[in-house]
Amino acid sequence: MTTEGGGRRELVLSYERGQWRARGAGLDVAHADLAALDTLIVRAFEGAEPSSVHVRFDMGALPAWLRQYQAHYFNYVLRVGRGTGTHDGREARP
């Protein structure tokens, strides 16, 4: 797995053809539901040391004319690694 910023993992999130897609840190996963995508990401890091994955939305996924109004959609942090688990019961097949 590649990491950035002193062991901090980063994924770039986009929305393509009706699916959320997260890429980076050796991972490329997609799902129509964002919570289910998070579950896929958490599972991908299941055996690793507990750490944070910084998920950053790619503004290029929004229409260009919108960016003059607001240049940020959202970023968030996922806790991954041993012991964090996925307990939301959502279906998560890539």
Partner: protein, 497 residues
């Protein structure tokens, strides 16, 4: 790929930051006046003219003049084009726009803007039949008729021209789209407006402070009512899902497109939701801009500041709000002059609209951060697994506000240092305070019209109905009531001879 990673992200790649850079660069150039150097005297400005006088014996000097240099007015106009096109093209390059298309589109918008500005200054459109200090320009020039719109007429012409292109010349609109950036132009104008506010604060400090504080209080009260009411209406009466209701509630009740996108992000909504709401907001903002300034001026002629603040709370998107405030300002000043012979200082009604809107914009980052926490902890119920950092507040903060504050406070600080400095600064920034700011507003009017396509309302019947209902029943009445409670009785200072 464009992601926000550090607090400096976007400083060279977003319109918001480029409004700060362009606005402050020109302001810095105007500060050279303190050292006795005029770096902005090339700026052209239109003159008030009369049709028969110009057609009978044409001269550019009858239509245009320079702000400072002793240049031929047409040369000054070309210099104005070159400087602004150059500055904005640099910004376009950094924003990764297609620079060739941007320059081509901007050239068309620039020429159209000036055409509207010059035509709109014809006496039969602008001149008001009123005697001020013993002079009556309308009668002194022997006019037999006139629309008496004041400076509002160029704005109306610019808006109509843009709308005609956006709705009846769609291929041209598509060609101009790369340069039709109303938010960029209006945010640059708002940075210039910071200088105006500095000058106005010197003249009427208490009034300016009252405007700022009551604007903040009014905005806070409005937030408390608008969002929950619109959200409830969307959920209960229109049975919309939670995410769509939240995005719509923010778009309709807070600050339009930027709020819709910020809220969509905060609740991690599929992008299609804020995109659809944004299309709706842009069209309704144009309808509000077309209807509200005239309506407020006609219905409440004795409440100028209340009208401005109500506009700031009602009209969504910065461009439409500032444009509506500017139009309201000109219409009300002209109507008051016509009715009483008293001339209100221009800019105060506009400032009340813009200041109120700026408070709303500033709060959006905090509001959506709170909303994001509510969504993660209460709606999605995923505490511990997903977290949202406070950096989200900064990423959503409207950066042009920083340019506005820097311009306002630095002008105030320099001008307060001595009477000589105040006079020099007032003269040195005159080009920025008037023709440059007006030109950026005019560019905004044209660009807004170009990107507004009313046919996009097709297929949005239910959402459009919700928007119209929320606007008419919740937003406009509450905004006006709150504005009245906080601003009633406030009047712009009079122009002294």
């Amino acid at each position: 790929m464009t992601t926000n990673r550090r607090w400096t992200s976007g400083m060279l790649t977003t319109e918001d930051w480029w409004a700060v850079w362009v606005g402050l660069a020109i302001y810095a150039a105007s500060l050279a006046s303190l050292a006795g150097v005029d770096l902005v005297g090339w700026m052209a400005r239109p003159r008030v003219w009369e049709w028969t006088n110009v057609t009978g014996d044409f001269a550019w000097s009858k239509l245009l003049r320079t702000s400072g240099y002793d240049w031929h007015p047409f040369v000054a106009w070309l210099a104005t084009y070159v400087v602004f096109t150059g500055l904005l093209a640099v910004g376009a390059r950094f924003q990764r726009l297609d620079v060739k298309r941007f320059v081509a589109g901007f050239t068309v918008i620039f020429v159209l803007t000036w055409l509207c500005w010059v035509v709109g200054n014809e006496m039969h459109l602008t001149s008001v039949d009123a005697t001020v200090d013993g002079r009556n320009d309308y009668r002194d020039n022997g006019l037999s008729w006139g629309l008496q719109l004041g400076e509002g007429s160029p704005y109306l012409l610019a808006l109509i021209s843009g709308l005609v292109i956006g709705n009846f010349a769609k291929r041209l609109a598509a060609f101009l789209r790369e340069a039709a950036k109303p938010e960029w132009y209006i945010k640059t104008a708002i940075v210039f407006l910071g200088v105006n506010l500095g000058a106005m604060t010197l003249e009427a400090t208490d009034f300016a402070l009252e405007l700022v504080l009551t604007g903040a209080a009014a905005t806070f009260v409005a937030y408390l009512f608008f969002w929950p009411l619109v959200y409830t209406l969307a959920r209960r009466a229109f049975r919309l899902p939670r995410d769509a209701s939240a995005v719509l509630a923010s778009g309709i009740s807070i600050c339009g497109v930027s709020a819709a996108i910020a809220t969509g992000g905060a609740i991690r909504a599929r992008p299609i939701i804020p995109v659809t709401v944004s299309m709706l907001v842009v069209i309704f903002a144009m309808i509000e801009l077309l209807v509200l300034p005239g309506a407020y001026a006609a219905l409440f002629p004795d409440q100028p500041i209340v009208n401005g603040a109500a506009m700031g709370m009602t009209v969504k998107t910065d461009g439409a709000d500032a444009a509506a405030g500017a139009l309201l300002d000109e219409l009300m000043v002209s109507a008051h002059l016509q009715a009483t012979g008293e001339r209100w200082q221009t800019g105060w009604i506009l400032s009340s609209a813009v200041l109120t809107k700026i408070w709303i914009d500033v709060f959006i980052g905090i509001w959506t951060f709170v909303l994001a926490l509510i969504w993660v902890y209460k709606v999605e119920r995923r505490p511990g697994q997903v977290s949202v950092g406070p950096s989200e507040i900064w990423f959503r903060f409207p950066k042009f506000v920083l340019g506005y504050l820097v311009a306002w406070l630095s002008f105030l600080a320099i001008a307060s240092s001595s009477a000589d400095a105040a006079d020099t600064l007032a003269a040195g920034t005159a080009a920025l305070q008037s023709p440059m700011r007006h030109m950026m507003f005019m560019l905004t009017f044209v660009a807004m019209g170009v990107i507004t396509d009313f046919s996009k309302l097709r297929g949005m019947g239910r959402l459009a109905l919700l928007y119209a209902l929320a606007l008419a029943v919740i937003i406009a009445p509450i905004a006006y009531t709150v504005a009245y409670l906080f601003h009633r009785g406030l009047m712009p200072p009079l122009v002294t001879s």
